[in-house]
Symmetry: C2
Subunit: 249 residues, 2 copies
């Protein structure tokens, strides 16, 4: 397919490379930040376009990969009415004027680390079966885990991701702080964190739950709460997470 | 060194294999559960001992690897006074009569998955410099990440591990439940969970925090809270974790 990328951040970069590798043609790259976009255009052997009104009508799919709060602004400036214009965000609605679909790779991207899309779930949604079909086809060229989900389901998926990833990462940060308070290195629990994430790749999280709360080990729970008594916010969080484990059904 | 294992669970099994591979001699295996112990004894080409009073005095180090609440009971039955008797638990104190040290591999073990000890931090503690030295030496034969920490630090380490691992795993379970409520598979976020854990192997957790709370994206936060309004416990947890991210310093 002929694809134009609107944006040059992490998602645009990784998607662009994956599309090119899968044999698609990147027609051009538009971006408000010329530096990134020019580098990416060179990497993908295509051209950079700095002015939305000068976009070539030659692509079949135009993919907006900008920060969530700029999607509306970018789609408002999009000059064509008969082209498939989609975004790649988990959170944003599809009911933005001009948009006809969503192409959401369920992953967190960093510029430095390479990405193997074949195992990354891609959730697509189109305003009509034709668009959905096209997006499923495109997704299928870079990933083996493709599905069509509704806007409502995408919201659910995003909320689940916040719990599993954003909140987990925050717990890692809390653990780091606890370790530092006693002169210990975060390095001491990195392998444990890795193994915890690895375990649920083949098991359900519920079936591999360990720790004092699931054993209802009141002695350890009490000791930990005492330990945290000078930090009411953390103590409270410990208590609520433990209670949530105990009550989980 | 000549080592006797008291216990035949996950930790004893993985440690026993690692010690044998590093060239140590496993003198014998005592356990209250003959079936496991006999299997392990065959695997490690050593003998099984079912009666603590019949233990050979031939080992230099006797390692208790049983559930936390049985350590006291096992050490009370230990027949020698001049031998190094240690346990492998993160939580338990060192001040149990008869015990002279702790050898704590900071990892979660499952029987089915093989373990590479070389990257697993091992925290040791001895009642005197001689024991500490012996334990550091032993740990150094199977791991490159060996340190001596106090009982107090081990408590801190265990609390950090509860936040980073037990609580994270519970968040994965919550995410799974949220997905199921809308007909979505946990498989859709497994790669994201893996990548989140991978990222902090080379970065600090704080520096890679993402999500609506760290952006202070009140619109998304409000939407998520509305989504959870029929589940007060989860709503509360979402609110507190988000607030903790916003307030984190």
């Amino acid at each position: 397919m002929r694809i134009t990328l609107l944006g040059s951040g992490n998602v645009a970069t990784h998607l662009g490379k994956a599309f090119k590798q899968a044999g698609h043609e990147i027609v051009e790259i538009w971006s408000r930040t010329p530096a990134n976009a020019k580098t990416l255009a060179i990497e993908l052997s295509t051209r950079y376009c700095g002015e939305m009104s000068l976009l070539s009508p030659n692509a079949e799919i135009y993919i907006i990969s900008v920060s969530d709060d700029s999607i509306r602004e970018v789609s408002a400036k999009f000059p064509f009415r008969d082209k498939i214009l989609i975004h790649t965000a988990g959170t944003s609605e599809l009911n933005i004027p001009g948009l006809s679909g969503v192409f959401y790779p369920v992953q967190t991207f960093s510029k430095q680390s390479p990405v193997d899309f074949s195992n990354i779930p891609i959730a697509v949604e189109g305003i009509n079966p034709e668009v959905s079909g096209k997006l499923l086809e495109l997704a299928g060229t870079i990933s083996t885990k493709v599905s069509e989900i509704s806007s409502q389901q995408r919201k659910t998926l995003h909320l689940a991701a916040v719990f599993a990833c954003n909140f987990s990462n925050h717990l890692y940060a809390i653990a780091d702080k606890i370790l530092q308070s006693d002169g210990l290195e975060f390095e001491m629990i990195r392998p444990l964190i890795m193994e915890t994430a690895k375990k649920i790749q083949t098991h359900s999280a519920r079936s591999v739950q360990t720790g004092p709360a699931i054993r209802n080990d009141q002695i350890t729970l009490r000791k930990h709460l005492e330990f945290l008594e000078n930090n009411p916010a953390l103590r409270d969080l410990y208590e609520r997470l433990s209670q949530s484990i105990i009550n989980f059904d």
